[in-house]
Structures are given as C-alpha cells and as structure tokens.
C-alpha cells in the first residue's frame, strides 16, 4: 500500500502548493490522444517540459478511450468542440481529409519533413499533401524467450523446429487476424493495392499462396489456430512457447520474470522475409483548430522534436520516426528498439486509402475460413474480392425529392384530417379537458422522451433516404431499402444476406428470452421462500454477472470456449468427450454466444421476477395448498397468471434489447464461422463505422430493424394475450 499512500501525499502537496507554471494569459492548445501506460507517461513528460520552458503555452491534454476516440473526434470537430492537435494512426488520414476532420500538417522550421524517415513521410502523404507529423512506428516483430533459446534462426521453418524442441507450442501469433497474416501475404509479394491508383486486389496468387502456407502451419500443429492477444501473451509468459510475433505494445504485457529479446521476423524459406504492416502514429492538426500556428508549432516541436523523441523512445519505448533520435546514445543502445527499427525498414506501410476500411472484414473472413478448413484458398480469395466490391460499390443514383415531398405533404394532410374527424366524432376536446390530471402526470417524462429520443430518431431516420459518400449526402429516396431487401448481391441462403441474418437474429432473440425468463423465474421461485437459510447470500451472488462489466466477462467466456485451452472442453474431456471446435460450426458458435448471454442476462430477469412475485398475496397460494392443489397447479393457475402483468413488459423489452445486443456476439464468436452468427444490428453498425461511413445505408438498416421489432412485439402481445385466462 506504500506507493498509494505516497501518491496521495504527493497529490495533497500539489494541491496545497501554489500552481507553478502557466501565466495568466497563456494560450491554450488542446491535445487528444489514446495512449496509456508508459507511452502516456512519455507524452505527458514532453508536455510538462514544454510548459516549464514556455509559460505562455498551456496544453490541455485529454486521454480518450480508443474505442470512443473516432466517434468523439468526428462528432466534435465539425461542431467546433474538437482539439487543436490529436494523435492517431496514419491510415485514417485519407478518410479524415475527405470529411474535413483534419488540415494539412505544418512542420516547425527546425523540424522539416526531411528529418523524418522516408517511409514515415510517405505514409502520411495522401493526395500529394502531407497530413500529419509522424511520431512513431508500430509493426510486428519476433519476440523470443532467452531462457529457452540462445539463438534466433533466420528462417521460419528452422525457428519452428527449434521452438518445438524447447516448448509445447513451436510459435504463436494471432493466426485469424489479417493484420498479422499480412506479413505472410506481403512475403509472397501481395499488396492490397498494387499501386496508388489501382483498386483493391485480394484475388491474387500471393493471397492464395499465403493462405495455403498458413493452413499448412496450422495443420502441422506448428501454430495454435485459435489465438487472440491474451492467449499469445499467456503462452509466452508461461513458457509454453519460445517465439511469438507481436508488436511494441507487447513490451508492456511480458511478465517481469521473462528474459526476452526482439528480432526482425524470419524468412519463409525460398520466398523471402515476412513483411508486416507498418503503422505510423502521427500528430494531426484538427480542422477548425483555433490555436495560433505559433503555439501549435511549439507543441509539435516539443513532442516530435529531438528531445521529445528521445523521451518517447526511452520512457515510452516507442520506435520514433525522427531519424536523428536514433543516433542519440540513449536510444542507440536499446537493442529492442533497434530490432523494431530494422523491422520497420522491411515493413509495408498500411495503405493510406479510404477503401482500406472495407478490406479487413472480407480478408479476415477468408483467412479464418481457410484456417478452419471450411474453404480453400482459391475460393476464399475470390469471395473476399467479391465482398470488397460489395462494400465499395457506388451509391445508388440520386432521386428527385419532388414526389417524396408531395407524398409527405399528402400523408400529413390525411393524418391531420383523420385526427380532426375523429376528434369531432368522439368529442375528443371535452375528453382531453377532463383528463387534465392524467396529462400533468405524464408531462415531465414525455417532454424528456420527445427531446432526447424522438427528435434525434426522426432526424436520424431521415438520413435513410440519403447516400453518404466522402462527406456529401445525396437524396436517393427508397433505394437504400430496395438494395437491402432485394438481397441482390447474395443468394438468400448466404450468411451475408439480409434474410439469413434475420432468421439468425430471431433465433438468437427467442433463445435468449426463453432461457433468461425460464432461469430467472425458476431462481426467483426458489429464492422467495422467506424461511430459507442463506437466501440473501444466494441472491447477491447470483446477480454478480449483471454487476460486472460484460466486456471482460464476455472475453473470459470466449477463452473458456477455446478449443485447445478452454475450460469447457476441459470439462467435456472429463466425461470422455472429444474437444469441440466451438467457433468452426454455426450451431456450436451460436450455442457459445447463447450460453454467454444467458449467463449475463438471467440475473436481471431474476430480480424482476422477485419484485413481481411480491404482487401475489401469499394467502392465495396458501389457501390453494390447504385445498390440496399440487405445487405445479399452484404455479400454473395462481402464480403465473398473477405474474403476467409485471413480467410481460420485462419479457417484451428483454426481446427488444436482445434483438439489438451485438456486443456479446462481437466479443465471443465475432460472427464466426464466416459471418453466420452475426445479427442485423451488427450490419447497421458496420455500414456506419467500418464500411466507408455509409450512414444512409446504415440508417435504412436500422429502420428495417425498427419495423421488424414492431411486428415482433405485436405478435408477442397477441400470443401472450391468447394464452392469458379470460
């Protein structure tokens, strides 16, 4: 507890002492970043150093979660709430320059573009302009455990042989992730874009060769097939493998007792070196930044300049992009950074093209299908190419808004006339007057709902009639809806079609709601007995799944379903059942998602049922017990009918929420196999955020979901009302 106490005292001292720096009229420069750990510490050190020397500048530094970073940025900048400077990877420059989020970089006089390494400047150049000041490189390299191996073979096959001699797993990396796989793809000469002008090309010989090579690695058990970042770290830290491919971020994850080294990635024998993607983290100047050029230049110089770079290299362990920093003795003696610098030279910069965003999903799907064995390289590459084309197709041709406006006017007129007619016939005015009380009770909640929910929804829905491309909206009428419903790009039975996904979504919803309600109701009935011992303890322990943030528990469930290392297969093994590859088959993957979400969702229904059970007078059941009714009869004829009014809203709303609950699927099966376990809402999100910001298409998707939910709810109400006793 000592460090905590010391920090608290330090905090106290800082509060009590007068603030040292920052002159009264200091100019404020706002800087946003998503760094954490030592990288954050290095950046903050740079800023403190600047403010100490120059009290006329005050840097307002804001650390944003990376998952919220883009949303925050793209919302804030157009409304003049954005930062002056922010740090982000280079490959977003194309998209952001098109959408007016950034402005071209201004290099301080002492820090001309020529002082940065060539690949760095190349990476941040788009449309013949330089959009950001490069800060640091990120790419994969080879990490090895020095306690297990004393040398690093130059080619991959000797490395795997050596790895197999010294540990269980010859080597490991995230096999199913195209970002990692790209090292193999590039080794065979593949490029996502052949040159700056050419379209995406995934259906190439290089793609097929790389897929075939990795499939062989998996089949020969040289690499474990189901690996994510946490598992790779685990294998390395527990000595189960001596070699992993990973990036500089891995430095913070290696256990303190592991004696490790870093080297460039090995060669594929007879083909050439593995060439990973290179990302250049860069300092962007936001559009509409109000800070003066002079102040901004000072901050840039402090972070990207020589002193700043040395601090980022030594404290932040960054592979800095400023060439002269590598000659500094403090940086040059760091062999780990040296290995990353060497690797950066052999890496392929992440293409800085807006189309790149549409590549990941299809490429990942193709890769996983081949690794799993459900597709062969030739078919998978062709399919990936076709899917990219689907995501990148041009928006529908513009429509004339005239007929729609006439239709809207007619609808409004008809609605108004209908209401008027109804009002006159049913004496509405008088009845409304008589119900003044009721409206007073309703007013506060309704006002809030209209302002915060209905208005944004109407505005957002209107977007469904437009197509969004490169920051421009064009009116297309109902063509977005037509495209989705016709499912012309895929056969109806294909996992990518709207109709297939709809069926999966309905099954997902029904399965979850049935399990949540069944388990929740059962537990509530078990726990209602007031004379039961420990009931309070059970109740509190059983709501734990609801209380713990599901981001982490979903990951733990995913780990439990791992084929090789998961606890679920461990339990099956005890009963002599063969290990199951949970995410290779639609039904098992669906079951894994369903299990996780059932675990997450039953406590809510249990709590709701416990509350609802209190509406049932105990006298009734006791009287029935005296009359000789069995437990089942009492439940069926007394408890259940009386529970209905309080339970029905929870069941209906539970279905609605489950229908749109995509994050569990994203975290557990990630749509595997082949996107078949995705639900409708994940499509809407992908069109809005990862596939070229096609907001109109995403909005049309959402409106269709909305329509389906209304029909679903009407049906549920019908069914339950039919089942209700008269």
């Amino acid at each position: 507890m000592m460090p905590l106490l010391r920090r608290a005292l330090l905090t106290l001292a800082l509060v009590l002492l007068p603030a040292p720096a920052a002159a009264e009229d200091a100019e404020v420069v706002r800087l946003w970043h998503a760094y954490r750990g030592q990288e954050q510490a290095a950046l903050e050190a740079n800023i403190l150093w600047l403010q100490e020397r120059d009290p006329n500048i005050k840097v307002d530094i804001l650390a944003v979660p990376s998952e919220a970073f883009r949303t925050k940025l793209t919302n804030a900048v157009p409304h003049d709430n954005g930062p002056d400077l922010f740090i982000a990877p280079h490959e977003a420059a194309a998209q952001w320059s098109a959408n007016n989020i950034i402005q071209p970089a201004v290099f301080p006089a002492a820090l001309p573009p020529s002082s940065f390494s060539d690949p760095a400047i190349e990476a941040v150049t788009y449309d013949d302009r330089v959009w950001a000041v490069p800060l640091a490189f990120k790419s994969l390299a080879l990490f090895y455990n020095r306690d297990l191996v004393d040398r690093v073979p130059a080619d991959l096959e000797s490395m795997a042989l050596l790895g197999a001699e010294v540990a269980d797993v010859p080597f490991a990396y995230e096999v199913g992730n195209f970002y990692h796989h790209a090292a193999f793809f590039h080794a065979y000469g593949g490029r996502v874009f052949a040159d700056a002008e050419s379209p995406v090309d995934l259906d190439t010989e290089a793609m097929r060769q790389a897929l075939r090579y990795v499939k062989d690695l998996v089949d020969s058990e040289t690499v474990p097939p189901e690996t994510d970042g946490a598992l790779v770290a685990n294998l390395f830290n527990t000595g189960k493998t001596a070699f992993v491919f990973n990036g500089p971020w891995f430095l913070g994850e290696i256990g303190p007792t592991i004696n490790f080294g870093v080297a460039p990635l090995p060669d594929i024998p007879g083909t050439g070196p593995l060439r990973p993607f290179l990302t250049v983290e860069s300092l962007y100047r936001a559009a509409r930044s109000k800070a003066s050029d002079r102040a901004v230049a000072k901050v840039i110089a402090a972070v990207a300049g020589l002193e700043g770079s040395v601090v980022r290299a030594t404290v932040g362990r960054q592979v800095v992009a400023l060439e002269p920093a590598h000659d500094d003795p403090r940086v040059a003696r760091d062999t780990t950074l040296g290995a990353f610098v060497a690797q950066a030279r052999a890496a392929v910069p992440m293409p800085n093209r807006p189309e790149m965003g549409a590549v990941w999903e299809p490429a990942n799907r193709a890769l996983r299908a081949v690794v799993r064995g459900s597709s062969v390289p030739t078919v998978a590459s062709a399919r990936a190419q076709q899917e990219v084309g689907f995501y990148l197709r041009p928006p529908p041709p513009p429509s004339s808004p005239g007929p729609y406006l006439v239709l809207l006017a007619l609808l409004l007129l008809g609605g108004a006339m209908g209401t008027l007619h109804l009002a006159r016939r049913s004496n509405l005015v008088a009845r409304v007057r008589a119900s003044k009380h009721a409206y007073m009770y309703l007013l506060p909640a309704s006002l809030g709902m209209i302002a915060v929910v209905f208005v944004p929804f109407l505005v957002g829905s209107a977007v469904s009639l437009f197509a969004h491309k490169g920051g421009e909206f064009t009116f297309v009428g109902l063509k977005n809806f037509a495209r989705i419903l016709q499912s012309s790009d895929y056969p109806v039975t294909d996992p990518m079609s709207f109709w297939f996904t709809l069926v999966v979504t309905v099954a997902w919803t029904l399965g979850n709601v049935a399990l949540h309600t069944g388990i929740g109701l059962g537990l509530a009935l078990l726990l209602r007995d007031p004379w039961m011992k420990l009931k309070g303890i059970y109740r509190v322990l059983l709501i734990v799944p609801w209380a713990v943030p599901n981001y982490i528990t979903a990951l733990i469930w995913k780990g439990m379903f791992n084929r090789q290392f998961g606890a679920v297969n461990g339990v099956l093994d005890v009963f002599g059942i063969e290990p199951v590859s949970w995410f290779s088959n639609f039904f098992t993957a669906f079951a894994a998602n369903l299990t996780t979400n059932t675990w997450l969702g039953f406590p809510f229904m249990m709590v709701v049922t416990l509350g609802a059970l209190q509406a049932i007078p105990r006298d009734l059941t006791e009287a029935a017990e005296v009359d000789g009714a069995s437990a089942w009869e009492r439940f069926r004829h007394i408890t259940l009918p009386l529970l209905r009014p309080a339970l029905l809203p929870a069941v209906i709303l539970g279905s609605v929420w489950t229908f749109n609950m995509f994050n569990i699927i994203y975290l557990v099966s990630a749509g595997e196999p082949g996107g078949s376990t995705e639900i409708l809402i994940s499509e809407a999100y992908k069109w809005a955020f990862t596939r070229q910001a096609q907001y109109g298409y995403a909005s049309a998707y959402s409106l269709l979901i909305f329509g389906i939910l209304i029909v679903y709810t009407l049906l549920t109400k019908k069914v339950t009302e039919a089942g209700a006793p008269a």
Partner: protein
C-alpha cells in the same frame, strides 16, 4: 390497514429446504466461476494468469488496484476520486430523475383513462426499438445546441430517458396489481389523487421501485461511449470511461481492466444488497387483500 395475516410460525431453517440448496449451490458455483477468473486476473502480476482451469491465483499483488485508484493527471489531480464522484452523482441522479418521472407517468397509465393512453404506452415501448446507431449524431447536435455538452445534466437527461420506458412499463404493470379498494376508500375519506399516489400507491410499490431503481442505476453506471463523447475534460469522465481506457487499439491491459471491473461492480452489489429486502418482504401479502 388490516393486520397482517398470521402465517404458520416457521423460523429460517434448513429442514425441508435441502433440495433448494442442492439446486442453488452448484448453480451459484457455476455462475461465479467466470467471475473468479476476473478476480484472478486482477490479482495476478502483469495480468496474464496461467492457462489452467484453476480459478484461484497462485501469487497475489494489488498493483493493478493501486494503479487504478492512484491515477492522477499531469497536474497531480487525483483523477480516480473525480471519476468515482462523477459516476456516483450521475448514476444517483439518473436513478432519482428516472424513478420520479416514471412513477408519475406509470400512475397516469395505470389509473386514468384518457385519450392517447394506448398510443402513449406504445410510444414509450417503441423508443426501445430505435437502434442507437441512428441516434448518436443527432443527439450530439442536440446536446451541443442546448449547451448541455460537458455537463452532468446532459448525461443524466440522456441516461434517464433511456431508462424511463422500461421503468414506466414495469411500474404500470405493478400498479395494476394493487387493488383499488384502498384508493376508493381514501377518496371517500376526502384524500386528493396526489395524496393517494404518494401515501398509498408508492409505499405499496416498493418491490417494483427497487427493481426500477437498480435498473436505472445500472443504465447510467456502465455507459462509456456517450460519457466519453460528451465530456471534454478528464476530471469530468466517469469510471466506465476510465475502465475503457485500458482497452487499446492493439492490446488490452487485462489485469488493470479486471481490477477496474471489480471496483465498478462493488457499488452495484452494495446497492442491490440494500434494495433486496424490498424485493422479498412480502409487503403486499399481508397489508392488502385482493
């Protein structure tokens, strides 16, 4: 009020209850197994526990907790204190506002017959079907235009309106089960509608209010996208935003995240523990007879 009906005198007992424990005990253990892993991750140095099925840590460190609780910004401001305070204020205010608005609205739906009643009920329900992806950008514009960006009020407004539809439906369903005899008697005694609502209906609805309170609290307590997007200052963030900071573009600090997840869950458990007696005390069982 009538006297509670005397039940057979039984004290809490093990007798005749063993079968309940036989079901509940294994179920509880199975339920807690994944959570034990969260605890193990939080207590293991560097956050990468071994790959065994054993959910208990082999060595224990509190450094993940210390790092989170001790977080300061470059001026030395104790950020964790701000985050915890903001989270408690925002979730608390959301609960109070959400329940106040929902109780009145649910009462109107349950006890009055007025034009637009059905429509209103359905309108509340329908709001839950709007996919958030459509709303995010218009909501930001609205908050910006009304000057509610960077304010706790703005977030509380967003969260409570998210929670209201469920609360209204839940409470309305519960109000419906409360017999009207009592209210009719009170009306004869000259009590106003408002008095009846406050003095008779609300106290009888404690189980449903407890459920909706927990629900409203949770709606605000775990949300991070809106909080991170609307707030422009690190001291204005909430705990879930801080927690999400451990998830990076390339890698996640699972040890710190697990520690944060535990810190975030404790107030929820405490709240549930405090509320749960309202869920089980058989309030209506004795005092009102149907």
């Amino acid at each position: 009020m009538t006297e509670p009906v005397k039940h057979v005198d039984r004290r809490t007992t093990w007798k005749g209850q063993w079968w309940r424990h036989a079901i509940l005990l294994p179920l509880t253990i199975a339920t807690l197994y994944p959570v034990l892993w969260v605890v193990k991750m939080a207590l293991t140095p560097q956050g990468t526990p071994d790959l065994s099925a054993n959910p208990f840590p082999s060595e224990i460190t509190f450094e993940n907790f210390e790092a989170l609780i001790g977080t300061t910004d470059i001026h030395g401001t104790w950020l964790f204190g701000h985050w915890l305070f903001n989270s408690l204020v925002i979730a608390g205010a959301t609960t109070v506002v959400g329940i106040a608005l929902s109780c009145t609205a649910a009462y109107a739906f349950s006890r009055f017959d007025f034009p637009g009643r059905e429509l209103g009920m359905n309108a509340f329900l329908v709001t839950q079907m709007f996919p958030g992806v459509v709303m995010a950008i218009p909501l930001y514009i609205l908050m910006d235009a009304t000057g509610l960006l960077n304010s706790i009020t703005g977030l509380v407004l967003c969260y409570s309106t998210t929670a209201i539809p469920f609360c209204v439906w839940m409470l309305k369903g519960y109000f419906d089960t409360i017999p009207r005899d009592l209210e009719e008697a009170a009306t004869i005694d000259g009590a106003s509608q408002w008095t009846i609502f406050l003095v008779i209906v609300l106290p009888l609805s404690r189980p449903a209010i407890a459920v909706t309170a927990l629900f409203s609290f949770m709606t605000a307590w775990n949300e991070f996208i809106l909080a991170a997007t609307f707030m422009g200052d690190e001291t204005a963030f909430t705990l879930p935003v801080a927690l999400q900071r451990f998830v990076g573009d390339y890698s996640t600090d699972w040890g710190a995240f697990a520690a944060g997840a535990i810190v975030v869950s404790i107030p929820v458990m405490a709240l549930f523990f405090a509320l749960q007696k309202n869920l089980v005390e058989g309030l209506t069982a004795g005092s009102v007879k149907g």
